[in-house]
Every structure is written in C-alpha cells, then in structure tokens.
C-alpha cells in the first residue's frame, strides 16, 4: 500500500502569492494520477510539495499514511523525473542510476543488479558507461526514468517529462511510460500541460486552474461530463463549442427543452453533424470561415449567425464546403452540456 493523500494543501509564497489554494486529493495505491492545467495553475507547485522541494504552507500531505510535511525529500521514499532530465553530467549512466542507492547504503551487488535490471527494461544497456551528453534526448529521458525505478520508491513523480522531446518521440515515450507504470504498479503523479498526454496516461485525471482542482476523475468521465466550463473548454481537441444563450434564444439556433434563464450551451465538435433531413434536438446555422483538412477528418470553423460565436465542427473524412456558405448542423440531446454562466458549474 502506498497511497498519497492531500488534504487542503496550500502554498503561499513569501510575496503573498497563493499558488495552490487548498487542494484535497486521494491517489490510490498503484494509480496513475495526471495533473493537468494551463501554465501557472499550480500543478507543478503541488507536485514539488509532494516531493518535498517546496514547503507546504497549509494542510497535510500523507504518503502511505504517514504525514510527510516536515520530512526531507530523501526520506519520503519518492523518485522524481524532471523536465530537463537533471542527470549528473559528470557521471556515467551507470553512476547516475546508482548514485541514489549508494547514498542510501545499498549493498554493492544489489545496486549492480538493480541498475542492470532497470537498464534492461529501459533498453539503455549499451550506454551504461557513457556520459549523459553522449546520449540523445530520448535516451536521456530513459536514464532519468531508470534513476527513478532503481530506487523502487513508493511514489513516482513526473514533472512534464516529455516536454523536451520531439512530437514523435513524445508519443512513443508516452506509451512506454504507461506500460512501465502498469508493470511496476507504482503510484504515480504526473504533471503535464498537454491534455492529450493527460487523457491517454491517467487513471485519475485532475484538471487544475488558478490553484484549485476544477475536477478530478476518470479521463472519459471528464470528457463526457465536464463539471465546469473550464474543464469543458480544456479537455478535448479541438475544444468544446461554448455558446452563451440568452433567455430569449438566439436566431439561427433551435433547441428543444431549453433550460430556463441564461445558460452556456456546450457541444463538442465531434458531436455536431450536418443536418440533412434528420431531426435533431439542437440545430444551428453558421457561416463557414475556415476549413482545415488533416486527412482522416476535417475541421470546419465558422461563426454562429446570431452573435458570431465561433463554432468548430469535426467532419469525418474529407469535406470541403466553400468559405462563406451557410451550414446547418445538429446534435442530439444526449451530447449537450449546460453550464451556469455565473458560477460556471454544470447544470444537471
């Protein structure tokens, strides 16, 4: 058992800036938890507080039932993978991985066995005697992960580990991290600003904004039932269409069973379909302003007739409506989301 429990964790910097405003979170044993949010939302600060690299201003952080607020990073039994890898430049790959174990007085033959094992898993065996500067970005990332896994810690902490890699390698490493975590069953906290990375990796996805947790849950739960406007706009690519509906309605938009009062209507681009003769619970008309064809699908950008709200429509396959044409699209009631514009909370 090695769960992580945060309760009302706060971080206030010396200048009075409150970076994390009371976060409560439970990460179960063996769970892969991803913290995602825009830059400055406090996700990295939260991770660094769990690591012990930042002091905790309020609340408690418990790892495996033990409150670690006042415990040194080395004694928290965690391992961290940094964005810029933070390998020791003057040490060989082998020594980079062995350093933490040596400092803990692990017997020599056990260090050797663990490093070789990690090197085998991560396929860095041929480079064990090299210095980090002789490795490529992806190989360095593997060594950084190796340094974490040889320790067999209770918790892995990842601080945007893939941000310095190119797009192709990033996807490849993403899959490998997931596989590795599945195999090792180590509780992990992973920070990223990439929502796709977050969706694919997470068992529990935590969306943060301005120092608070907006919503935490399974990735598809967040996708299907975003609890707030922020989550609705953040999860999913391209983002959800959000249309502010005044009580009197909008011209060019027909909606069956509209809730009373002013609401924000959310509809994902992939849930809009071109309306032929099909009946739909929502139908709206917009003017095509831009078309992006990426092969498998086409994104059509337009402006809503009534108030000019930008609408994105995802069409499977190749579609190419001429710019300026008016398009009538619809959606079924099951795919509609309603939010309160005042509190930005989900309605119903």
């Amino acid at each position: 058992m090695s769960d992580v429990r945060l309760s009302e964790v706060r971080k206030v910097y010396a200048g009075g800036v409150e970076a994390v405003k009371g976060v409560s979170l439970t990460i179960a044993d063996g769970e892969f938890c991803v913290l995602v949010g825009p830059s400055g939302c406090g996700k990295s600060t939260l991770l660094r507080m769990v690591a012990g690299l930042e002091t905790i201003s309020g609340g408690t952080c418990a790892i495996d039932g033990r409150v670690v607020n006042e415990i040194e990073p080395a004694e928290r039994d965690i391992a961290m993978v940094f964005q810029n890898y933070a390998l020791y430049p003057h040490m060989s790959v082998y020594n980079n991985m062995a350093y933490g174990l040596r400092n803990r007085g692990t017997p020599k033959d056990e260090i050797d066995a663990r490093v070789k094992e990690a090197a085998r898993i991560l396929e860095v065996e041929p480079f064990l005697e090299r210095k980090p500067k002789a490795l490529s970005g992806g190989q360095r990332q593997r060594v950084a992960m190796g340094r974490a896994i040889v320790r067999k810690p209770k918790v892995f902490l990842f601080d945007e580990p893939l941000s310095n890699l190119d797009a192709k390698l990033r996807i490849q490493m993403r899959v490998e991290i997931k596989k590795l975590q599945r195999a090792l069953k180590t509780t992990s906290i992973y920070v990223t600003h990439d929502q796709l990375e977050a969706m694919t990796l997470a068992d529990q996805l935590v969306v943060m904004n301005k120092g608070r947790v907006e919503q935490a849950g399974r990735p598809l739960e967040l996708y299907e039932r975003p609890a707030t406007l922020f989550v609705a706009g953040f999860i999913g690519a391209p983002p959800m269409n959000l249309i502010t509906l005044p009580p009197e309605g909008l011209p060019g938009l027909q909606l069956a069973n509209k809730p009373t009062g002013k609401v924000v209507l959310g509809i994902r681009p992939e849930h809009l379909f071109e309306q032929g003769s099909k009946s739909a619970d929502l139908s709206l008309e917009f003017t095509v302003q831009a078309v992006e064809a990426v092969g498998a699908e086409t994104y059509i950008y337009g402006a809503l007739g009534g108030n000019g709200t930008e609408i994105i429509l995802r069409e499977p396959g190749k579609a190419s409506p001429a710019l300026g044409t008016r398009l009538k699209v619809g959606a079924s009631a099951a795919n509609l989301h309603f939010f309160d514009p005042e509190t930005s909370q989900r309605l119903a």
């Binding site: 990073p73 391992a79 940094f82 890898y85 933070a86 020791y88 430049p89 003057h90 400092n103 500067k133």
Partner: protein, 282 residues
Amino acid sequence: MVERKRFLDFLPHLVLALGVAIVAFPVYVAFVASTWDAATISNGKMPLTIGPHFLENYYRTIFIGTSSSTREPVGNMMLNSLIMAMVIALGKIAISLISAFAVVYFRFPFRMTAFWVIFVTLMLPVEVRIYPTYKIVADLKLLDTFAGLTIPLIASATATLLFRQFFMTVPDELVEASKIDGAGPMKFFFDTLVPLSITSVAAMFVIQFIYGWNQYLWPLLITTKDSMQTIVIGIKKMIVTQDALTEWQLAMATAILAMLPPVLVVVLMQRLFVKGLVETEK
C-alpha cells in the same frame, strides 16, 4: 581572413613574428648570458651564441648560490616560491569554492551583504592594506613563516566571484535531484558541484599560481631570514649596485629558473583549459 594578395597574407605573419621577437629576444639573451662566465659578460663582448659554462653555472646557482649577495642556493628559493605559490593557489581555490557555495546555495541572513563584503575586497589588494596586514601578521608572530607569507594573500574575491558565476549556471534541478537521491549539502558539493567546476578550478589555478609565484612586495616585507627567501626576491638581491661585482651569469640563470614553473604550469594546464572550453560539462 583569406586575402587574395600574397602580400596581405604575409603581413600578419610579419607582425606576429616581430611581436614574438620582441618578447623572446631578451629571454634568449638572458639564457645566453647564463651560459657564459662573469668576465665575458662584464667586458661587454658577450656573443649571442650559447657559451661553455651552462652546466657549471646552473649547478652553482641551484646548489650553492652567489658568493656574496645572497647566501642561499637558488634551489631552496625555488622550493620556497613553489610552496608559497601552491599554498596561495590551492588555498584561494578552496576558500573561494566554499564561500561561493555558501553565497549561491544557502539562504542565510545578510547573504547579499556577505557577498558584497567579499566583492569589495577586490578593491583591497595586499599593496593597499599592507601596513595593517603587516601589523596583524607581526602580532600573530607569523613573520618569517609560510603562514604569514601566504594567508594574507589567500583571501580574495576574484575566485569567489568566478565560482559564484559558474554555480549560478548550474541548473536547480541538479540540486533537487541530489536532494531526492539522498545527498546532503556537503555531498552535493563534493559529488556534483566540485567535479562540474573542475575546468574553472584549473583556470583559477593557473592564474593564482602565477600570481603567487610573482609576489614581490609582500615576501620582501615578511621574510628576513635567508632560508625563507623566494626566488623573485633572490633575483633582486643578486643584482648589487654597490661596490661588489654582480655575478650576472648566476642572476641570469636565476631569472631563467624563475620563469620555468609558471611557463610549465601554463603549458601543462592549457590542455585542461582547451578541454574545458570545448566540452562544457553541464
């Protein structure tokens, strides 16, 4: 720059050759003079070719010394100079590494004040504070000792400044990784920071060794015993202006000998220099 005209190709070489000649010729003359006997030098007809007394002169210089002005063999002076230069260079590096480490990595009250105080000592070389420093050294009964000779010259801001600048370029993540790897501050210092600074240390060693070796005023003041003389003082003492005859062949041999260690240090350490410049370890 590649020039089309042969003349312009040749011109820079001419200038460089002239410069080398201006620097090297006096050294050559000194070397030639150190291989002739006193009589040949003093009658003003010394040839510009190497003379027959090379071994004899150098043997006398190193193991016996001049017959009148200095009573100490130059070998001993070289040893004194070597000890002084080494202690100053290594001492400066050690104290600067530690003080830079403190200033960069620890948050203590008046940290910046401490840094500025160190910084201000740049304006206070030994020559400026010579009287109070002499008084302190004399009161501590350190006259005519290596401690008195070196300690006042060790405290310096230049190396602290250099190491501070270098430490600030070391990524914070390395400190954090060390913390998570269970390395305390001193372990981080010795396992990570010092190995990373090795090229800066080499650069500092070259500069400070030559600085220490060339010290003149301070040893002149602090040392009175013959056995504590440094080679730079020795050269000065050999050239007598009073009635006695200067043994020029020995003075010149001493000058050549005094030149050797700094040259050697530069030549040997240059490799580390270049290595440090080519492959930055960070």
